[in-house]
Symmetry: C2
Subunit: 281 residues, 2 copies
C-alpha cells in the first residue's frame, strides 16, 4: 500500500470528508489538507479528524500535495482541477469524485500546467444526506469506484488510484467516460429524476396518505437541487434518452391499464420484481 506524505482534499463534504476519515484511519498519509470555501465545513471536518490541516486557499492547500482529490460539485470540478494543477508540485496526480465524467475528462485530459495529470473517478457512494457531518470512514467499504482512463492516461497513475481506492475498501471498475455517463444516467440520474417528479406531483393534502412505498421511492429527492441540476446538465443527453425509454414503458403500462390487460400488467410487475430481487438490499 503506497504511503503519501500529503494528500489534498478539495471540498470536505460527505465524500471528501469520508475520504479523509478513511485515509487517516488507515494511516495512508502523514498530512491530509482539507480545502474548502466555508470555514464552518472545514471546522467540522477537522474536528471529526477527517483532515489534519485546513485552508480556504486552494493554491496554498495543494502546494505540497502528492495526490489531489477534488470533491467539489460537478460544475466546479474543471476549474478546481486547473487551479490545483497550477499550484501543485510539478507532476502531481489529480483525481475527482464527480457523478459525471465525459465533460470533465474531455476538459482535463490534456494540457494541464506543470506536467500535472488528471484521471477521473466516481465512487458510487453517498445518498440524500450531504455535508461533512455525515462523513464515515467506512463509506467506500465494498462500494464500486469507477475510474475513467483515456489513451493519455499513464498506467502508473491508474495503478496508484486503483490501489488507493482498494485500500479504502472499494472495488475499482474501469470504463470510458462516455460509457460511465450512459450507465449512470440509468442507474442514478433517472431514479433521481423520477423521485423528484413523483413527489413533486403529490399535493400537500395527500401527504398523510403516504406509506413506506412513497417514502422509499422518493427519498433521494431530498438531495441538494443545485448539485443535481449540475449533474443533470452535464449528462443531459443521456438522461433525456433514459427518460424517453422510461416514458415509453410507462405509456405501455398506462395503455395496459386502460385496456384492462391484466396479463401485461402482471408481466411488467414480474420483470420489476425479478430485477429488484437481483439487485439485493
Amino acid at each position: 500500500m503506497k504511503h503519501f506524505n500529503t494528500i489534498a482534499i478539495v471540498g470536505v463534504g460527505l465524500i471528501g470528508g469520508s475520504v479523509g476519515l478513511a485515509v487517516r484511519q488507515r494511516g495512508l498519509a502523514d498530512c491530509v489538507v482539507g480545502i474548502g470555501r466555508r470555514q464552518s465545513s472545514l471546522r467540522i471536518a477537522r474536528q471529526a479528524g477527517a483532515v489534519t490541516t485546513t485552508t480556504i486557499d486552494l493554491a496554498k492547500g495543494v502546494a505540497e500535495a502528492e495526490l489531489v482529490i477534488v470533491c467539489t460539485p460537478v460544475g466546479r470540478i474543471v476549474e478546481d482541477v486547473r487551479t490545483a494543477a497550477a499550484h501543485a508540485p510539478p507532476g502531481t496526480l489529480i483525481t475527482d469524485v464527480g457523478s459525471t465524467k465525459a465533460q470533465i475528462v474531455a476538459a482535463l485530459d490534456e494540457g494541464l500546467p506543470r506536467n500535472c495529470r488528471f484521471l477521473g473517478g466516481h465512487p458510487l457512494a453517498g445518498g440524500e444526506k450531504t455535508g461533512p457531518s455525515h462523513a464515515r470512514a467506512d463509506l467506500f467499504d465494498g462500494r464500486v469506484v469507477v475510474l475513467t482512463p483515456t489513451k493519455n492516461t499513464r498506467a502508473e497513475d491508474f495503478d496508484t488510484l486503483e490501489k488507493f481506492w482498494n485500500s479504502l475498501g472499494a472495488v475499482v471498475v474501469q470504463m470510458p467516460p462516455e460509457e460511465h455517463d450512459q450507465a449512470l444516467a440509468l442507474t442514478s440520474h433517472l431514479p433521481h429524476a423520477a423521485a423528484a417528479v413523483l413527489v413533486g406531483m403529490v399535493p400537500e393534502r395527500l401527504f398523510r396518505f403516504s406509506g413506506a412505498g412513497l417514502l422509499d421511492t422518493t427519498r433521494i429527492a431530498a438531495g441538494d437541487p443545485a448539485l443535481w441540476t449540475q449533474i443533470f446538465m452535464q449528462n443531459r443527453a443521456n438522461l433525456a434518452k433514459a427518460l424517453e425509454g422510461f416514458i415509453h414503458r410507462l405509456t405501455q403500462l398506462q395503455t395496459a391499464l386502460l385496456q384492462a390487460n391484466e396479463s401485461l400488467i402482471q408481466q411488467i410487475l414480474e420483470v420489476g420484481k425479478t430485477n429488484r430481487d437481483a439487485l439485493g438490499n
Copy 2:
C-alpha cells in the same frame, strides 16, 4: 375500549397477522380465529401468537365472530366477505384492509345475507415484505387507517371500527371510497408502478452501478406482482390518470434537458425537495 369475545381474521399475512398480534397483546378479544388457505401460514401465525385457533374453513371460522376482518388480496375480498356474511352470526360487522376501496365497497354496501354489514377499511401500513413471519404488534402504531363509510353505514359500526383501530394505535381518517382510490393512486399505486418500470429497464450488466438512490427508489418493486396486479386492476382508471400526469411532467423535464433549460431543471428539483422534506422520514 370494546372487548370482543371472538374476532375472526381471514388471511393471516403481514396485515392479518399484525392485527392478530396487536389484538392479543392488548387483550381486545378472548378468541382470535385465524382463517387461511395454507396450513403453513396458519401455523406461523399460531406459533407467533397472532391467533388462538386456526382453520382453513371460512364458514366454520366465522361461526362465532363478533367482528370479521378480511385481510385477503383485493381480488378475493368481495367473495370472502360474502362467504363470511353467509356463515357469521346474524348482524355481524365485517371489515377489510384492502388497498382499493371503490369496487369492493360498491359490491358489498348492500344486500349482505343475515343482516351482516360491511364497512371498508385500509390501514396504510406494510411494505414490500409480506407474510405472517413479518407481522408485528406495533405495525399500526401512529399509522393512518382509512375507513370508507357510505350513506348506508350505521354510525355505531363506524364508531366500533374507529375505536378498534385507535386501540391498535392507529389514526382513523374517514373518506368516500372513490376519493380514497384517487388519493392512493397518487401516494401508493403510482410509486409502485414507477418503481417496477424503472428497475425493469435497468439491464443486468449495470446492476453493479446501482447506489442507494436506485435501491431506495425501487425497493417496493420487490412486492408480490400478483397482489399488485389485482390492486392496479381495481384502481386502473385512477392509476392511468396518475400515470398521465407523471408522464406529462417527465416529458417537461426531458424537454428542459434537451433545451439545456437549467432554471427549469432546478425548479423541478426544488419542488421535489420541498415536498420530500415535508413528507419526513
